[in-house]
Symmetry: C2
Subunit: 371 residues, 2 copies
Amino acid sequence: MSDDPRLAPLAASLPATVPFTGPEALERLRGRPFRARLGANESVFGPSPKAIAAMEAAAREIWKYGDSASHDLRHALAAHHGVAPENIVVGAGIDGLLGSTVRLFLAPGEVAVSSLGSYPTFDFHVSGHGGRAEKVPFRDDREDPEALLGKAEEVGAKLIYLSNPDNPMGSWHSGAEVARMVARVPEGALLILDEAYVEFAPDGTAAEVDVEDPKVLRFRTFSKAHGMAGARVGYALGPRHMIRVFEKVRDHFGMSRTSQSGALAALQDELWLTHVRGEVAAARERIAAIAAENGLGALPSATNFVTVDCGGDGALAKAVLEELAARDIFVRMPFAAPQNRCIRITAGRPEEMDLLATLLPEALAAARARG
Amino acid sequence: MSDDPRLAPLAASLPATVPFTGPEALERLRGRPFRARLGANESVFGPSPKAIAAMEAAAREIWKYGDSASHDLRHALAAHHGVAPENIVVGAGIDGLLGSTVRLFLAPGEVAVSSLGSYPTFDFHVSGHGGRAEKVPFRDDREDPEALLGKAEEVGAKLIYLSNPDNPMGSWHSGAEVARMVARVPEGALLILDEAYVEFAPDGTAAEVDVEDPKVLRFRTFSKAHGMAGARVGYALGPRHMIRVFEKVRDHFGMSRTSQSGALAALQDELWLTHVRGEVAAARERIAAIAAENGLGALPSATNFVTVDCGGDGALAKAVLEELAARDIFVRMPFAAPQNRCIRITAGRPEEMDLLATLLPEALAAARARG
């Protein structure tokens, strides 16, 4: 089936690919549900009960459009971060905001640099807007600021993408290291700093930069630590003159009213965040222990997932993933070698961790038997 | 404050405008809330109680991303319309889908034709993607298919936008007339048919076209008759090969999980839709009666709003709107002459209609006294 002849040339050039397949789509392909949903780095511990209550209350007001300025949420975020409301734009998740950012700052034919195997949705937007993606490898299972800066300089990149902590490895750099990287961003380039997982990271991991620094836009989300992936709320932090330009392209009435209310309530429930951080820390230790019981190594993690080295090549890790799926456990794996020797397991509740402990030995044995 | 020098040239060329200011933003400017929110064509009658219950239930599952394929909703919509699921793409409201459509089908420099004073968000997307907007006037307070087709032929337009029933006048063409227009869409062009209000229209208003007709994409929403504007759920109906291309650019995990659940429940509650239609019909009659009591004409409406002719020029209508706002009644008015002689009043509950009946005479008198 060929494309429509009326498609714009850029659109015609794009493949009809999906950055990755969602858990429900996988369940439909399999013909049965997963028992443990540990592959999408969602927070199985859920959102704050206060956020749920706020969303329930807002459901009765859903006949109203959401506030086009996300005023209350933006002001609360500004107070939380100690910046001005004009330093913040709220959007439908980091995914949506990354799309707007690429559209605003990357003209067709220009180059964005990121790490081989990093978040595929960023590349989806780069190619989707006619940009070119240049890649550098991870170094010691971490994103490599030196290599990113070097490549950006070499190719005259407009955008540099770094996730910190990073997905899919769970590794991280200190906020001070990131600040040193920001200072070295080449003239004419902009660092896209994705801090989706930073609430799970050790103190000092958030970038130590001035919000008015024009070399960097930072991205945060309610999808991870706040347990609201299905609500689609993210935000970008940056200099006023750069945040302001999002008004040129954003979907002004695109925010769900329930999501705005839920995020505001979630932000104010610090106790719940502390509770979730504790549960995630315990689950990370449990995953590492399960890995060790099976003779596998677990990478240190500053996120709500642990990347487990299956001790072989990509084919073995893929087999382990498939054998876990055959036992109704959903996990994912990094895309690019040599990180694709690993599988990535989201922090789960004790009962899901028990299931993993029970079934990983079988899955490993079956995967090894395939070879 | 000048733009950042790193902005892409197209982005740099765009004004930082908002298609229109939302009610909450107006309330913040005024410093006090409206008592009657009758300006955004929301359904004050709310969504189906079953939709509210579904959203409340889904709030507890909000830690999960929404289904990236909106599978259940898309299949239910397909059954509802008697088409295949592959004929439907679900997105975050018609606004978001219009943005994707323009991005897919209008290359920079190409032309989109629409009516002077029609839905501003379409033009926002056209200019936002580097297209050029060409306009034709309304004819007898209705969109003018002949003029739209003629202009499209003359300028070699790629896109033609028609809303039916139309916003802001509430007027309409029969589905058979629209089908005749579709048949005459010039080779190489595509009709964007916005049917946001069609559930309020007389039987036979929905376009009588084959869903596989490659000359037209139709757009529907849960924001109006289904009372879920704040949930951001819309969909496009069209040929499989054209619906498929949305996969190239859409935000795959961009749908709110609560909104997906709410829309599915709303779609299945036909009784509620019938109830809302009845309330809206009664409110339309009430608005027309209030207009008549004040010596004003009300236009026939196939929507959930009534456009009232203030009997003067744009300045008078603007004064009436301002005097209503000063009395805490929020309405809007059409943007372009000669339609800007009118104000547009959303169907309200009896208490809001009573407020309008009480305050319109004062507002009119005050507006006339200004001149």
